[in-house]
């Protein structure tokens, strides 16, 4: 109060002093430090995670080496462990899920952005995004009580009747199966793929649609010639997001896949995934080698997820490179 503000009126005869402009902003420094620490935390955590996984699985790595990834025996009593059926199960269930979910999600996204009456666009998009909020254990229960009985009674016999000559659709029908897991996963990843693709399609400028229509294109041709190509890299990004979710999903999958360490060509046969086996057997592992084998599976899951994501990102990068003029442009 009694200290006068020194720089309100500069003293007579003196020029405006630059000392008035100096000084540091403490808040800025604190903020910056906090942000840097936060950003550093992520790679550090990742490093710890990898180290922990490698350390925990050291016993199994020494015992089985890389052969662990190609062996299909899983016998905790005889202390024989191999992860091939698990890797196979994780990749196959996710791939099948994408095969089901991608066309459906893209269809919904295109319908909602291009064809649906304006009044129903937002409500439907909102409902679909709500699907993402359902806990996976609820999906699992729904899978056990609704989806599996339905698949076993109608879809599976139909597939076997029409396509039974293919090995994928032969063999006995139990209910819990690779295909049931794929269907559950498809339903779970659809909201992600749908809502991201929808936003990407919405971001395509209206002028692109108009340009195609002015050339004599129908609404549908405008979508296929102008809208979807412009949104291509974003759509692939949406699919990657869905894939990442499918690869790591644990609870719903383990509730419907049948949890059997077997390599089967038939999609009606039960299977297992890496995430599911770790969740199921971790609490029951009584020997050190069993424990180490499960950690080794977790490490493999980590590497597989990382590799798939890296590959997918490479794909997006190549597509966008192509789109923005193969070099030489200005």
């Amino acid at each position: 109060m009694n200290e006068p503000e020194s720089n309100v009126a500069p003293p007579k005869g003196e020029p405006h002093g630059f000392q008035d402009l100096s000084g540091t902003n403490v808040g800025d420094i604190v903020f910056k430090t906090v942000l840097i620490l936060g950003a550093l935390l992520i790679p550090v955590l990742l490093g710890f995670l990898v180290w922990e996984l490698v350390d925990g699985s050291r016993l199994a790595i020494q015992e089985y080496g890389l052969g662990f990834l190609t062996s299909s025996t899983w016998d905790p009593v005889a202390e024989e462990f191999g992860a091939l059926p698990l890797i196979f199960g994780t990749l196959l269930s996710s791939l099948l899920a994408l095969l089901i979910a991608v066309p459906l999600s893209l269809g919904v996204a295109v319908f909602l952005t291009e064809f649906a009456p304006a009044r129903i666009r937002s409500p439907i998009a909102f409902l679909l995004e709500l699907l993402a909020a359902i806990p996976s254990v609820v999906y699992g229960l729904w899978g056990i009580f609704v989806l599996i009985p339905f698949l076993r009674a109608t879809i599976f016999p139909f597939l076997q009747g029409t396509l039974g000559f293919l090995p994928f659709f032969s063999g006995p029908i139990y209910g819990p199966s690779m295909l049931a897991a794929a269907v559950i996963l498809a339903i779970m990843v659809m909201p992600y793929i749908m809502s991201v693709s929808r936003e990407v399609l919405l971001a395509v400028p209206a002028s692109q649609r108009e340009a195609a229509i002015a050339l004599g294109a129908t609404r549908w041709e405008a979508v296929t010639t102008a809208v979807i190509p412009s949104a291509r890299s974003g759509i692939i990004g949406a699919i990657i997001l869905g894939l990442g979710r499918a690869l790591g999903e644990t609870m719903a999958v383990t509730m419907v896949i049948g949890n059997t360490h077997e390599l089967a060509a038939s999609l009606f046969a039960p299977g297992y995934t890496m995430a599911a086996v770790v969740a199921n057997e971790f609490t029951e592992a009584s020997t050190d080698i069993h424990f180490a084998a499960l950690t080794y599976v977790a490490l493999a899951l980590f590497v597989v997820t990382l590799a798939v994501n890296a590959f997918a990102r490479l794909l997006v990068w190549r597509v966008t490179q192509k789109a923005s003029g193969s070099g030489g442009g200005r």
């Binding site: 002028s207 108009e210 195609a212 294109a217 291509r232 789109a323 003029g325």
Partner: protein
């Protein structure tokens, strides 16, 4: 030579959600001339342009009353397929709108691929369209490059080539140079001047000098009404209506 106009609007009213954007416009354009539509923003000149290729009706809530005749045929009767109409009445927009994922060649061919029934080889039609748009010499060695590698002015000429490729008779341009620099603008103007020997050109412009330089007839719109339509020279030198005079002399706008 028939003196039937190529494009003729009769008592045309176009509305958005029941609110007319243009009222009772009757106007005709002769073939092989450049026709300019001028007027302050929101006067309805773009709406009028979009009724000629039935782009107006794509806006939700848009309706049209009255008729538009193209080569004597009413394009608002039920037998007309708007997709086919738009091949005869091409349109170029304010901002260049090349398809960003396509090469230069594919951009020009885009309209042809939608309806693949041309007997002529695609490459021939594309070359002709690019020559027509005065772009061939600049791009002939890089037809497979992305359309985005072109400058803004080149992109707009690419869009003109894309519009020429399906073989229209009428070309509508909605302020085609307002996003371009003066040099690129001049090239487009020279191009349009050349194109009128083969096409009927209707251009919306904010720029009165452009209308005066380029067009054979000029129509002045104000608040949704056609105030005056005349030879460009007489409209700018001896306008009949006070409003027109006030606008062309820059008293408002």
């Amino acid at each position: 030579m028939s003196d039937r106009p190529r494009v003729e609007a009769q008592n045309l009213t176009a509305s958005y959600h029941g609110k007319p954007a243009i009222r009772e416009v009757s106007l005709s354009f002769q073939a092989n001339q450049v026709h300019a539509l001028i007027g302050p923003s929101g006067c309805g000149k773009s709406t009028f342009l979009r009724t000629i290729n039935r782009m107006h009706e794509l806006t939700p809530g848009a309706t049209v009353e009255g008729s538009v005749l193209v080569d004597g045929k009413d394009i608002y009767t039920s037998g007309i397929n708007p997709m086919h109409l738009r091949r005869h009445v091409g349109m170029v927009f304010q901002k260049p709108t090349p398809f960003p994922t396509m090469s230069i060649f594919d951009n020009v061919a885009a309209g042809l691929k939608i309806l693949p029934r041309s007997e002529r080889p695609l490459a021939e039609v594309v070359e002709e369209a690019l020559r027509g748009a005065a772009l061939w010499d600049e791009v002939k060695d890089r037809l497979n490059k992305s359309a985005l590698s072109l400058s803004g002015g080149q992109q707009q000429r690419l869009c003109i080539a894309r519009t020429l490729a399906p073989g229209p008779t009428v070309i509508l341009l909605d302020e085609p140079t307002s996003a371009l620099d003066p040099t690129a603008t001049q090239r487009i103007e020279e191009l349009l001047y050349k194109l009128k020997s083969k096409y009927t050109i209707v251009i919306v412009t904010h720029n009165m000098q452009q209308a005066a330089r380029l067009s054979d007839t000029t129509s002045f719109f104000y608040l949704g009404e056609l105030i005056e339509h005349a030879d460009t020279k007489s409209l700018f030198t001896t306008p009949q209506k006070e409003r027109t005079e006030a606008y062309v002399t820059g008293k408002f706008g």
